[in-house]
Amino acid sequence: MDVRLQISMVFHLDKCIGCHTCSVACKNVWTDRKGAEYMWWNNVETKPGTGYPTSWEDQGKYHGGWEQKNGQPDLKMGGRVLRVLNIFHNPYLPKLDDYYEPWTYKYEDLFNAPEGADQPTARPVSMVTGQPMEIEAGPNWDDDLGGSPIYAANDPNLEALTPQQREELFEIERLVFFYLPRICNHCLNAACVAACPSGAIYKRGEDGVVLINQDKCRGWRMCVTACPYKKTFYNWSTGKSEKCILCFPRLETGQAPACFHSCVGRIRYLGALLYDAEQMLPAMAVSDDKLVEAQREMILDPFDREVQAAALKNGIDAAAIEAAQRSPVYKYVKDWKLALPLHPEFRTLPMLFYVPPLLPVMAKNEDGLYDASGKELFSPIEKARLPIEYMASLFSAGNNDLVRYALKKQYAVRLFKRMETVGDIEHATVKRALEQVEMTEEEAESIYRLTSLPTVDDRYVIPPSHREEAMQMLNDDMLAEKGMAGLGFRELPVRGA
């Protein structure tokens, strides 16, 4: 057993209101710089939709992530030889247009324009060229199903649906969408790390945060292609690549990352997981429908004495193990099996998990009448507006059972609380719903508490950061480093450095 610690995340999609506050918080903190204007380390997508960059999930185009070749995982963008041959021309990079050309407005024209017959306007200008431009796309251009015939209709996940299901999805008054906030998944077997020719990307030993060393990065952009989630970005000004750093300076001071901190719907949970690194290769080798379970198997029980001993032996301190025991992520992913990884079939073992949204039907269209007075408050999962197959394509590599279980469990919790608070549901009905997912009433209560009434301390259980220990792992001679660390970049990231 090779126990390691990972700061892991859960996004509860049933609570996401798609307000983009997380994206703006991240933008203001990290990517409000020259060359980074087009980057959204955190973005919120509408599903069905093509997301940002356009159709990022379509690995037939972008060639990101891993695939099994002769029983060995290999990057989908090609083996070593092919990557060397492509090193000066990586053919699978998204264009700037696939992200969007960042723009601002010439606000000063509103004040400085000479007097005339018309109102002065602030023309949009490109933040790359500075020239006036026509805005044709944005990072959330298909927000709330905007431009559906172009974007939502081309969602790669719709391939999992029958033509009839697909048609129903876009019927008027049946239209449905939900939001998918995305950040870097800080994968256990990150493809970006494997693809970097310069060895600039690394997974931090103490908490598993994946980072790009700006001193080492030479801007080959192999990571941009390799990351199937398209969460590494090339900064055209510094000539280096950048990505979400999980706000590690905040983590190290015990604060949640900016996007978590600012989340209005409080959908985000953050906590430590202990996992067994030895199981990584076997977990990557299983068939698509078993991927989620294999990944769950890797996550170890922090209450297990053996695991604790192995963790201590690997240099994980007792306080971190204690944090792993209180981790809300462990509860959602392992205890309750509510949270699922996004596109596990990319085989990077992403460590950001999503609770699939329930999207209950509140009304129905019968004989041309819109009827909102349904007898049952919550319609059963089978009648969900978004087919299970669609969710399974997103969250379980096509394994419908896992998604159905997660949704049924949420459904049971709702029935249970409805019975308790309103009392218009038979106890037998609730009991049946609980039994279907083998859930006790205590578990239902704790799911309800962590979902609906969590405090900041419940949502974010950040293990104390022992930077001094992490530094010691790198360097025995601490005095040699005295006064040399902790002052930010020794050199600014620039081209050619």
């Binding site: 356009t54 159709s55 972008y62 021309h89 990079l93 264009k95 247009d97 044709e136």
Partner: protein, 291 residues
């Protein structure tokens, strides 16, 4: 570490220096015009004439009537600094002789005064400066041109250890790939410089780049004769290569241009084939298909 300067040695040195200062003081210098001429020949003549026309730098004849002695002193010591100050004469000279920049001269005030005195004397007498030492030590013999060619191209090593001329200079016909381009083309150097001027440069190349190489690794008299002979007769060694005039264009065969163009097209086609599956914009494609 052992110091090899003991107090005794130091004392002796101080006494000697003091004695030298007394012996070779300013008046002694001024009374010896030949000393000034020697310094001028070594330090200034590479770039300046007195009454022989402009070289890399201006002819200095009459400069003493145009500029004050103070100005001359200041300029000789730090020409770039005077130019930076915005002195109109200096900026004019820098502009006229660009891109050449006169290096700062670490000459003593007495030496400078002696040189100024010499220039003044020659101007008044309306004579030109004739370098005393710029002479070949023997007449040119028939084999010297070929021997000079060997030295120029580095086939024969220079005795002082300096790098071969071809490292930085080109002479038309000096080799298949030609010479270096750091220094000027020497194909017609015998036309550009008068004989004593050229010999003097070979003896004391006082250009900043050459000085750094040949200051400590001078050419010997024999090598000077041979190289001089070669520069006079470069055409004899490689008669097929005509000395290019400044404006003469290299002749390019039309078929060669066509071949290059065809090769370019071919390699572009090959690259297009090799990267056939490259991504050509995902969003644009979606929009196009929808219209």
């Amino acid at each position: 570490m052992k110091l090899d300067i003991t107090p005794e040695v130091l004392t002796m040195r101080l006494i000697c220096t003091a004695a030298a200062a007394v012996l070779f003081s300013a008046p002694a210098f001024a009374q010896q015009p030949s000393a000034a001429a020697g310094v001028f020949e070594k330090r200034c003549y590479s770039c300046h004439n007195i009454g022989g026309g402009d070289k890399k730098g201006p002819d200095l004849k009459g400069v003493t009537t145009r500029q004050s002695t103070e100005w001359l002193r200041e300029f000789i010591k730090a020409p770039a600094a005077v130019n930076r100050k915005g002195d109109s004469v200096a900026t004019g000279l820098f502009k006229k002789f660009a891109p050449e920049v006169m290096p700062d001269q670490d000459l003593a005030d007495e030496q400078i005064d002696a040189i100024i005195g010499m220039i003044d004397g020659l101007t008044k007498k309306n004579e030109a400066f004739v370098p005393a030492g710029a002479k070949l030590n023997r007449p040119i013999a028939p084999g010297d041109v070929e021997a000079g060619y060997q030295l120029f191209t580095g086939r024969a090593a220079l005795s002082g250890g300096g790098s071969a001329c071809i490292s930085c200079h080109n002479v038309s016909g000096s080799g298949r790939l030609g010479g270096g381009t750091l220094g000027p083309d020497l194909s017609a150097v015998n036309v550009r410089y008068k004989d004593p001027e050229l010999i003097s440069i070979l003896q004391n190349p006082n250009f900043p780049t050459m000085k750094s190489i040949f200051g400590t690794r001078p050419l010997n008299d024999e090598e000077i004769v041979k190289l001089f002979a070669y520069f006079q007769n470069a055409k004899l060694v490689a008669p097929i290569a005509p000395a290019p005039a400044a404006s003469a264009a290299v002749r390019i065969e039309p078929w060669f241009v066509a071949l290059g163009f065809a090769a370019l097209l071919m390699s572009l086609a090959l690259m297009n084939r090799a990267w056939k599956g490259r991504l050509r914009g995902v969003r644009e494609e979606l929009v196009r298909r929808n219209q």
